[in-house]
């Protein structure tokens, strides 16, 4: 089976490496350092359906990126991975189905893996 494509956006380099390494086992992980780069990557590779984003980034934060992405692209699932506790803003995003799930750092990779899988199935249907 072909690995599902996932985009991970985070401004911390080491974080990107970690996630790519660990999730790389099960998925085809593309990384982006900023919201802008992420949008470009999505543009270039429309097969990427799963997007995980950090919240706290310079220039464009996670939510802003996700909002822009939903406007530009269809059929994608968004997840947030952040050091912050859930804020009202994030809660609203969850409630409005902008994002499927929220993970708090330090990352529990199993949890993330499970969530991704779930959404994949949904997408597959």
């Amino acid at each position: 089976m072909k690995k599902e494509k996932v985009l991970y956006v985070d401004d911390e380099h080491i974080n990107l490496l970690i996630l790519k390494k660990i999730l790389g086992k099960n998925y085809d992980v593309t990384i982006a350092k900023s919201g802008h780069e992420a949008l470009d990557k999505l543009e270039k590779d429309p097969e990427i359906k799963l997007v995980i984003s950090d919240m706290k980034m310079p220039e464009m934060n996670g939510l802003q990126f996700i909002k822009l992405s939903t406007e530009r692209f269809q059929n994608k699932k968004y997840f947030m991975l952040s050091g912050f506790a859930i804020t009202e803003e994030i809660q609203n995003a969850i409630d409005s189905n902008l994002i499927c799930n929220y993970f708090q750092k330090p990352a529990n990779f199993e949890e993330i893996d499970n969530a991704l899988k779930k959404e994949c199935e949904q997408l597959g249907d």
């Binding site: 660990i22 750092k105 330090p106």
Partner: protein, 1181 residues
């Protein structure tokens, strides 16, 4: 028919007869006529000649020939009958006469009427008046030779012409009035002069008269016509042209042969100009006389042989003559004083002989025997070197001479007076200076000063100029000023100046000057001592007196504090004026000793002390302890500065006792008597009054008259001539508020015959200034004992009153001080150094809770006092006391006592002064103590409160720290996330690898490095956190500010990372300061946190440090939203925040500020709204 013929013949006959009769009649008539004619012809005085015409062929008259001529004619022609009868006119009168008379002849014959004519016959040199009558062919000429008549007429006319001319020239106008015909005739001149066109009619004449004169003129005229009086009248007439003239008519009556008046012959003269001239002359004469009378200048004149002299009325007055008396020159000269006669005579002679005018002053003895001084001038009128007239004036100058003499006497007096007198002219230069003046100013001679300006003599160079202006305005000036001697030294003068005028009306300024240097000096000393008094008086309640004993035994109370009223019940003001009020209160048993003690002190110059009883009304007794030190004054009097303490229990209310000390009373009585005696001798009085300015008055009750002397006028500012001389003059001068009281006092004096002693205010009539006048008077009674008059003196006490008022002010201030002192529980003490005892007043006994009974003499030994002073304070108190005693400096010390009875702790403040003394023996301190316990307690409370505040503040700071920690945890938690992530990630990766047995060293290294990084980061964060939680209070830790800043940045990473750019400009030098690390963390965390809060989206923060040997500076600048100017001043205020509630305590900067202060640093914030904020911290090393 016969009959008819017969009738006819008879009628014809009758008619013939009749005709014959007529013929004869007529013939007879003709004969008659011829006879008549012949008679006439012959007897006529006039010429008669008959001529017969000779006609030529044509019938024209050719000529005529003489038929007959009478004697008169023949005589007139000078011919005989024979020569002329039958001859033609030419033949008789010569050729040409026919031609001459032809027109006449022709006329008479053509008219057939007689013709009159006058003709001049050259041939016979005749004027003929003829009448020629035609008779048939003949004509008769009758006539007269009027040659003589004509000549006469001509002569008359000539004469009349001459007369008229003469009249013209003389201005006389003649007229005639024919009484019989009532006809007027006026000469041509008359008509001309009076502007008539022709001789006027009577109506016209009447019209010309002034209606008012008409009756009078008529009357006179009627009288004149009757005679014998001649007519002479002056009256006014109005000419036809309206001009008015005055005329004089003089007329004489002319009578006929029978003596009847027939003519009034008169002359009218125009006297208009004359009248005017006379009027003018009279006017000027009157004027001159008047002038002469006013100036009392008499005129005189010698003329002709100079033996007689004409004197005007004024001259006669001077001589004492009556108006009609005349003198000759010698007599006039002999009126002079025998000693002067020679001089006068010589001068008059020189004038007459040599034409020398002269003037002299000499004595004249009038007819009444009165000796006068006269001034006379003589001016000779010379003609051809000879004197034709000597005239001049004479004037009575006796008055002037008198005043001249007076002047001389005054001048003498001035010269030798002790006061300086000087006169300055309107140009500001001295024109007169007496010796005293020049001496006073240090010049040798008055002449040294004359001509100079007063500028050099006054210290104020503008004074003289201002004085002149003032005098011009206000007319007089009296005042004290500083003067300058020749050698430049200054001295004080009292000067009185006036505006006056010299004989020419020029302004002059006379002044009188008195040297008052000594007095001024004395005054100054007095003022100085008064000032010293005030100082002491400020600290001391009780009675303070300044008492003076004069060398002559008189004494004065110069000053008394208000304590006098409190303790003794005498008003200081009254006591100063009349210190007998105090003497009177002294117990009679004590008085003698009292005075003796004063005398002893004065003589031996020893300090004075005396305890006396004061007797108050109701026979209450008070004891007063007086102490004083004598000092000798310049005027040889002695002054004591004394303090009197009430040493009886002070409770009572005051009463006033009046007793008059006999000595003092006598002295005052004596003085009043002297003054009244002096009033009898005006001359000496004036001198005294000049110096003392005491005025005398005398009021006669019966006549209501009031008599004043010059000084009184001066005092009241009234002119002698203005003074009414009635009692009302005094009453109306009084100040309205003083009127009732003083009038009442006067009434009392009159009724009860007691002496008058009043004080009243007046308004100086001239200057308007308020003056205080003291009046004293005595009554005069008649035999029955009724008061008839009151008389006495007035003198000006304005200065004293003002001084007294000043003192009152000071005293009332004293009162306030005293009241304050009383309220503040101030006690007075006097410490006798020698005896080491302190005398206390009641208040101190109360404060210290000592019993009066234990110390009957009120003296407490020093050691007993010290026993209640708290041991800790004894040292300082003793030291300061010792210092004051030794050095004389004022005492000011605070100490605590524990009272004996109630064991209260009281704070006492003590202030004292060493008594200035000239003798070594008496050394004492006067002082005041007051209980300041309350104040101290308050101070302690305040201290406590402050401490509490500090504690609270510390607590607050702690809570802020807590709040900061809250901030920190959030930050920390976040920060830890990432490092933990790395660790977790590294661990998971490794785990995976291990599971898959896929261990790649490189990969594994990478995973391990993640773990390492994470661990390190986490450790750092935890360490920083530790730093924040330190609550050490030590301020002596070594703080590396850069590290601290970095720690804070780490803590705040989550806030700025990716958003705000941090620029660090750290100094290369040492960043170490001593302080508290934890607290400094708090400071920079707060500041950096604020900076980040200020930046909304993005910005930058610049952290700059600078270090030198002495200081370390940290500047943190952000380009955030800034702080408004309004808020900038409040940022350090506790609880001030611009954030919404819950987002900031508002304590951050205030705690930051206090921490920085604790570190010996300063913090300052500058900001520009919407631009930047800079926080500058300066640490001193």
């Amino acid at each position: 028919m016969e009959k008819s013929n017969a009738n006819n013949d008879s009628s014809i006959k009758k008619k013939l007869q009749e005709a014959n009769k007529k013929l004869s009649y007529y013939k007879a008539r003709v004969d008659q006529l011829e006879d008549l004619q012949y008679q006439l012809f012959e007897n006529l005085a006039d010429e008669v000649h008959v001529w017969e015409l000779i006609r030529d062929e044509t019938g024209e008259i050719k000529t005529w020939k003489l038929s007959s001529a009478n004697h008169t004619a023949l005589n007139s022609w000078g011919k005989t009958e024979k020569e002329v009868i039958g001859k033609t006119t030419d033949q008789i009168f010569g050729k040409g006469s026919t031609e001459k008379f032809m027109p006449i002849v022709k006329t008479i014959f053509s008219n057939q009427k007689p013709h009159r004519w006058i003709k001049y016959f050259e041939a016979s040199d005749q004027y003929l008046k003829m009448s020629s009558t035609p008779l048939g062919e003949k004509f008769i000429s009758t006539g007269k030779d009027i040659t003589d008549e004509i000549i006469l007429n001509n002569k008359l006319k000539e004469k009349s012409d001459l007369l008229n001319k003469a009249e013209e020239m003389s201005g006389q106008a003649s007229w005639k009035y024919n009484i019989q015909t009532q006809e007027w005739s006026f000469s041509d001149n008359w008509v001309k002069i009076f502007g008539f066109s022709k001789s006027p009619t009577t109506e016209e004449l009447i019209k010309a008269l002034n209606p008012a004169d008409l009756e009078h003129v008529r009357e006179i005229f009627q009288e004149a016509i009757k005679g014998p009086k001649n007519y002479s009248l002056e009256h006014e007439i109005t000419l036809p042209n309206g001009e008015k003239k005055w005329v004089k008519d003089s007329a004489k009556l002319q009578h006929s042969i029978d003596g009847e008046p027939i003519l009034l012959v008169g002359i009218t003269r125009d006297i208009t100009k004359e009248r005017e001239q006379t009027k003018e002359l009279k006017k000027s004469k009157d004027f001159l006389t008047r002038i002469g009378k006013i100036a009392k200048v008499g005129g005189w004149q010698l003329e002709g042989d100079f033996s007689r002299v004409y004197l005007t009325d004024v001259t006669k007055e001077i001589y004492g003559l009556s108006k009609d008396q005349e003198l000759n020159t010698d007599q006039a000269i002999n009126f002079y004083h025998p000693d002067d006669i020679e001089m006068v005579t010589n001068l008059v002679s020189s004038a007459i002989d040599k034409g020398e005018s002269y003037e002299f002053e000499a004595r004249l003895i009038s007819r009444g025997g009165k000796e006068k001084w006269v001034y006379s001038r003589g001016e000779p009128d010379m003609k051809d070197g000879k004197c034709v007239r000597l005239s001049g004036i004479i004037q009575d100058i006796s008055e002037r001479k008198k005043s001249d003499n007076k002047m001389k006497m005054l001048t003498n007096a001035l010269e030798h007076s002790l006061n300086g007198f000087d006169i300055v002219d309107e140009h500001g230069k001295f024109i007169y200076v007496n010796k005293a003046h020049s001496r006073m100013f240090g010049y040798e001679e008055p002449s040294d000063i004359i001509g100079t300006t007063p500028k050099d003599l006054t210290v104020d160079p503008e004074f003289a100029k201002n004085l002149v202006n003032r005098l011009n305005e206000k007319k007089s000036f009296i005042g004290e000023l500083k003067a300058k001697r020749k050698n430049g030294t200054e001295f004080d003068i009292l000067m009185y100046s006036r505006l006056d005028y010299d004989e020419f009306g020029n302004k002059i300024y006379p002044s009188s000057t008195i040297d008052i240097t000594e007095r001024k000096q004395y005054e100054r000393e007095l003022i100085e001592s008064e000032r010293k008094y005030k100082n002491i008086a400020d600290n001391l309640p009780g009675i303070i007196l300044k008492y003076k004993l004069n060398p002559d035994g008189t004494d004065q109370l110069i000053y008394a504090s208000d304590g006098l009223k409190d303790i003794i019940g005498v008003n200081p003001k009254d006591a100063v004026f009349d210190n007998s009020l105090l003497w009177n209160k002294t117990h009679r048993e004590d008085i003698k000793e009292f005075k003796q003690s004063l005398i002893d002190s004065a003589q031996n110059f020893t300090p004075w002390k005396f305890e006396t009883r004061i007797v108050l009304p109701g026979n209450r007794i008070k004891w007063i302890d007086f102490r004083g030190t004598p000092s000798k004054q310049k005027d040889k009097s002695i002054i004591w500065d004394t303090v009197g303490l009430d040493i009886t229990k002070r409770k009572e209310a005051e009463f006033e006792l009046e007793q008059v000390n006999s000595n003092l009373e006598n002295l005052v009585e004596e003085r009043a008597q002297k003054a009244i005696k002096l009033s009898k001798d005006l001359e000496r009085y004036k001198l005294a009054s000049e110096h003392s300015k005491t005025g005398l008055w005398y009021y006669d009750i019966r006549t209501n008259e009031l008599v004043w002397d010059d000084t009184m006028f001066e005092l009241f500012g009234v002119d002698e001539d203005e003074f009414s001389g009635a009692y009302e003059a005094w009453e109306t001068s009084l100040h309205p508020e003083d009127l009732e009281e003083n009038v009442k006092a006067l009434q009392t004096t009159i009724q009860e015959k007691i002496d008058l002693n009043i004080l009243f205010r007046i308004k100086h009539r001239k200057t308007g200034e308020l003056r205080y006048i003291k009046g004293k008077g005595k009554t005069e009674a008649d035999e029955r004992g009724n008061t008839i008059a009151v008389f006495g003196i007035n003198y000006d006490v304005t200065k004293e009153m003002t001084l007294a008022k000043e003192r009152e002010k000071i005293i009332s201030k004293l009162e306030i001080y005293q009241m304050a002192a009383k309220n503040a529980q101030v006690g007075i003490w006097v410490f006798d150094v020698k005896k080491q005892k302190t005398k206390w007043d009641d208040t101190l006994f109360n404060i210290y809770e000592f019993d009066f009974e234990d110390y009957p003499d009120r003296y407490i030994p020093l050691n007993e006092f010290m026993s209640i002073v708290l041991p800790e304070d004894i040292k300082e108190l003793s030291e300061k006391l010792q210092k004051s005693i030794e050095t004389g400096c004022p005492l000011d010390v605070m100490f605590r006592i524990k009272t004996q009875k109630t064991k209260q702790i009281k704070f006492i403040r003590s202030k004292g002064e060493v008594q200035e003394t000239k003798s070594e023996e008496l050394l004492s301190l006067y002082g005041t103590n007051w209980d300041v316990t309350k104040e101290m307690q308050l101070a302690i409370e305040k201290e406590n409160t402050l401490n509490q505040l500090k504690e609270t503040q510390a607590q607050l700071i702690q809570s802020e720290k807590m709040a900061s920690l809250g901030v920190l945890t959030a930050g920390v938690a976040h920060e830890l996330n990432n490092p933990l992530n790395y660790i977790a990630g590294g661990f998971t990766a490794l785990e995976q690898n291990f599971k898959e047995n896929n261990l790649n060293i490189d990969e594994a290294s990478e995973y391990l490095s993640w773990i390492k990084t994470g661990t390190e980061r986490a450790t750092n964060i935890v360490k920083s956190l530790n730093l924040f939680s330190r609550s050490s209070e030590s301020h002596t830790e070594v703080c590396n500010v850069h590290s601290i800043l970095d720690d804070c940045l780490l803590m705040l990473t989550h806030r700025f990372d990716g958003k705000i750019k941090i620029i660090k400009k750290y100094t290369e030098y040492s960043d170490e300061i001593f302080g508290n690390i934890g607290k400094l963390h708090q400071v920079f965390l707060n500041i950096l946190g604020n900076a980040m809060d200020a930046i909304k989206t993005d910005g930058e923060i610049i952290i700059e440090t600078k270090s030198t040997e002495n200081y370390l500076k940290v500047h943190i600048k952000d380009n955030g939203k800034g702080i408004s100017t309004e808020n900038l001043s409040k940022v350090f205020d506790p609880f001030f925040t611009t954030k919404s509630p819950g987002f900031g305590t508002g304590l951050g900067l205030s705690i930051t500020h206090s921490i920085v202060s604790e570190h010996n640093g300063k913090i300052k914030i500058t900001s520009k709204q919407n631009s930047q904020t800079t926080v500058k911290i300066h640490f001193n090393k």
